[in-house]
Symmetry: C2
Subunit: 548 residues, 2 copies
């Protein structure tokens, strides 16, 4: 059953790879596309490099008390990695002391005799101890096995400097000798990673007196964000290494309250626009290499969040030129979404083509109330954007529609007896349904607060499966004044990752299931994932809540 | 037992890695070493490149009638390798139509959707069909598993041009898809190998009317030699990729009757001298990368063959300067060898350190008579070299010693009743004992001819295990006038490889055992091996024997 469950989003994903709705001939963005892509290129940041060396020699140990059953133990100083017989040790683990993303190179040398034969090695780069402890094969995951960062290399002679062509993202490196000659021994003479990011030091940080756990969460959030800020906002530097709209939105929020590299946000907004479909619909994500190209996929919640990200960008930077440039894109996302509304203003789940709705990684989570809420929220944000740009005329029918949608939401999703929003045939009570109904102000905030409050106290409620889901819940808690609950959720959920040894925050985290994976393999999960960086945003945007 | 047998040469090899005999303080070649290495560098040839593409799509088929039980069948034109779904085919074999050595690169592309994940592939480069048909693991061989030419690569995105850092040597390439994403399919868009050699076209070739099998043997011998002629005379481009004295000797003989790249011979003679031990002894082999260095090993037969190679070089080129430069090296090899002679002029098998004697790859072959004969032969050749250089005074005691050695040989190894030379406690009758006693003219040539003739007609006699061994037998047959037998042996032995589909001649070939390997794995044998190229020398040096 697990296999089937995790495949549902993937299946929807494929359903949606055809042409989107509202096709217009020939290209909605023809007049601007080339200029948008040029502006995206001009805004491309220069990566900042630094040389990282191992900070310890380490071992991985099975330990049921540790996260996912494994812990890394430092066994020696890093100099013990060098000039040591690889034939004796067979396998060595280097701990680089922090999560890094970049190009790895290693100098191998002979110990004594000249090398008379090539050497075969396996290098395994690991974000997490489990990636060191558990074999990668046989592989059970639903995503490409090639995401796992083990490389088998042939060293033709010694000394030899190996530089891996693949960018790697890791804290730990395991080096295993697979084959060598009886005639000579070999060692590592040196190794390093040229770590890259487009940012280095945040411009905003919590006050000195901030509680140490909050500071720690902020630091790890910063590390997570930094690692994902490359020449685009990546979702994760290990996987998928791509620009997804949902991640962009949360990363740009966190960036606005930390590194303030607005140029990267601008680049990503233009890239997504320049690579949108001809009918105006945004693709959910973009791969940069070898040249920027969109994946042929539409996720409706992400399309709408683009508008929210654009509004935030304008608010944070005052860059009206960019926002005005991209206003037609925002309008098209509204048009796409409206296709899914019935006459009463309710999201109609039967409209074709059915679009993938991301929202969270969580089995059985019912998305109906959430998409209704998110759509309402995004329409409101689009109206705000229109006001800032003097484009109210373009969306003059939206305020009435929003009103209608809220009424439909209350009629359809709100259960006045229970005082919560329910979703789906099974009338599921989920954190996210309450969150999106709150963010969209579908009920007065006091009632939203009650719905949220009841839900998070209900052990039967469907809680989020990912930091991405939790972000919106915390935003909603703050919005309706549940500050203590917001803080508690942040310190509880992200603090749980801290307690379990996170160097960066994870794509998926379920406090009750260490090995949860939407891909049927916790090994292929991303453990430095952009959408989990938002404590940086909360802590620094709301110091009165989190910094005292 | 097999395991123990094939390890014996290796064991001797290790015994001998200490300092050689006759150590002189501090460096016998101090005045010249730097100049020798400089001259070696100056004589380094420029490699000639050519682009090679697959000539067919192929499959490998189990076939008990084929060599080693496998045959490659061409299934399609080479264009069917391209733009074909790798997800459907899973595995594809490209036949490049000839043995090539060089740098492989391949362009991978997506079929349709953009690549959303890396791809993992295994590329297996094969000289022989068995390398395509049989799994490499578990590996039973005594040499490094890393010699086997399978590389596991990660393609980070598509389109992507992969260029393997490792030089490969192969005819066939198998490409297997190990991991990919469900979201896109991929294909090969193009592939090629930049093949290299320092030679291209021979200056000498057999007459047009030469028998077609002889012409074929000559062609394959030329291909073998060309593949091994890189920036040194390599023993084999797949394995060991090194300059060994024994291979140099035979390659330079064949080169003198084909490509005539005398500069390469000069380079190798200087390299070996420049990297000899401080006591004057030559090391058996040299690795070029990353900078030329000698393997710490001495093989007595190879040391002595250096003198023979130097003489041949002088005779073929008239380059007295080089020969005179390197004369001290020749003298030192004679001095080393004399250490192993007892007062009667017999090679004393108890003298320490015991040196590895190569001669052949053949289990149980007794080398005593052969080393005695080779030493006598090499001393005679050194005297000839001395005469050409006017250095007779340096070796004035040698002629008497040679005489004494021949007498000792006759007394100790010749069995007048049987009319053959025997060797070892079991009085083994081997082809090579007769060959070396013939080449050294230990008996009048008529008696040598009888010994050889009897031996090759004796089904119990120990026949050579390698083309290297057969070379000396054929040279001996020619020397004592057994021309028909020489031709028959050449067409029988090398013709056997031709019949079994050789593109290049093999390191090891036993007509009675397809899977013979000195390394306990026929997969790690070299199937393009320099020491098997000498039909080129015989056919073109002795046209009256082979070309009519």
């Amino acid at each position: 059953m697990k296999t089937i469950k995790y495949m549902i989003p993937l299946l929807l994903f494929f359903v949606m790879t055809g042409k989107g709705v509202n096709a217009q001939a020939p290209d909605a963005y023809e007049p601007w596309r080339a200029a948008w892509l040029r502006k995206a290129e001009q805004a491309k940041p220069t990566l900042i490099s630094r040389i990282c060396k191992p900070t310890a020699k380490a071992e991985v140990v099975k330990d049921s008390a540790s996260y996912q059953g494994w812990k890394v133990v430092k066994t020696d100083s890093p100099d013990r990695l060098y000039r040591v017989s690889l034939k004796e040790t067979k396998s060595m683990i280097a701990d680089f002391g922090e999560h890094i993303t970049g190009t790895f190179s290693c100098v191998f040398d002979t110990l004594g005799n000249i090398s008379d034969a090539p050497v075969r090695l396996r290098l395994t780069f690991a974000e997490m101890p489990a990636e060191l402890g558990e074999p990668f094969d046989p592989y059970s995951g639903g995503l490409s096995r090639a995401w796992l960062q083990d490389e088998i290399v042939t060293i033709p002679y010694l000394p030899y400097t190996l530089t891996l062509p693949r960018r790697v993202s890791f804290r730990y490196l395991k080096i295993e000798l697979l084959a060598s000659s009886s005639y000579f021994d070999l060692c590592i003479a040196d190794m390093q990673t040229t770590a890259v990011s487009c940012v280095s030091t945040p411009e905003i940080e919590p006050a000195a007196e901030t509680d140490s756990l909050i500071r720690k969460i902020n630091d790890i959030g910063l590390a997570t964000l930094k690692e994902c800020m490359q020449t685009v906002y990546e979702d994760g530097p290990k996987r998928d290494q791509r620009l997804w709209i949902g991640d962009l939105y949360l990363e740009s929020l966190a960036n606005a309250y930390s590194f303030r590299n607005d140029s990267l946000t601008k680049r990503c907004l233009y890239l997504l626009a320049g690579l949108a479909r001809e009918d105006g619909t945004l693709n959910s994500n973009i791969a940069e290499m070898p040249t920027p190209r969109a994946q042929n996929s539409v996720t409706l919640d992400y399309c709408l969040l683009y508008n929210c990200a654009l509004l935030e960008y304008l608010k944070n930077t005052g860059d009206r030129e960019t926002a005005a440039d991209l206003w037609p894109v925002a309008l098209n996302q509204v048009r796409l979404a409206r296709h899914y509304l019935d006459d009463s203003g309710l999201y109609d789940t039967s409209v074709q083509p059915q679009l993938w709705l991301v929202f969270d990684w969580k089995d059985n989570f019912d998305r109906h109330a959430s998409i209704q809420g998110l759509m309402t929220f995004a329409f409101s944000e689009t109206c705000r954007l229109a006001r800032l740009l003097g484009k109210e005329a373009d969306v003059k029918e939206l305020p009435a529609l929003i009103k209608k949608m809220k009424k439909a939401s209350r009629d359809f999703f709100y259960d006045p007896k229970q005082g919560v929003f329910v979703s789906g045939n099974n009338r599921q009570i989920s954190y996210l349904s309450q969150a999106w109904m709150t963010l969209s102000e579908t009920l007065p905030l006091r009632e939203c607060a009650q719905a949220l409050s009841k839900t998070i106290r209900n052990p039967e409620a469907c809680y989020p499966g990912s930091p991405y889901g939790y972000h919106y819940v915390i935003e909603a808690l703050i919005k309706c004044g549940l500050h203590a609950e917001a803080k508690q959720m942040l310190t509880g959920y992200w603090g749980g990752m801290v307690e379990k040894g996170a160097d960066t925050f994870w794509e998926v985290y379920d406090p009750n299931d260490d090995r949860r994976s939407p891909y049927n393999s916790h090994l292929v999960n991303s453990y430095c994932h952009a959408w989990s960086c938002t404590p940086v945003y909360f802590i620094n945007k709301y110091p009165e809540i989190f910094q005292r």
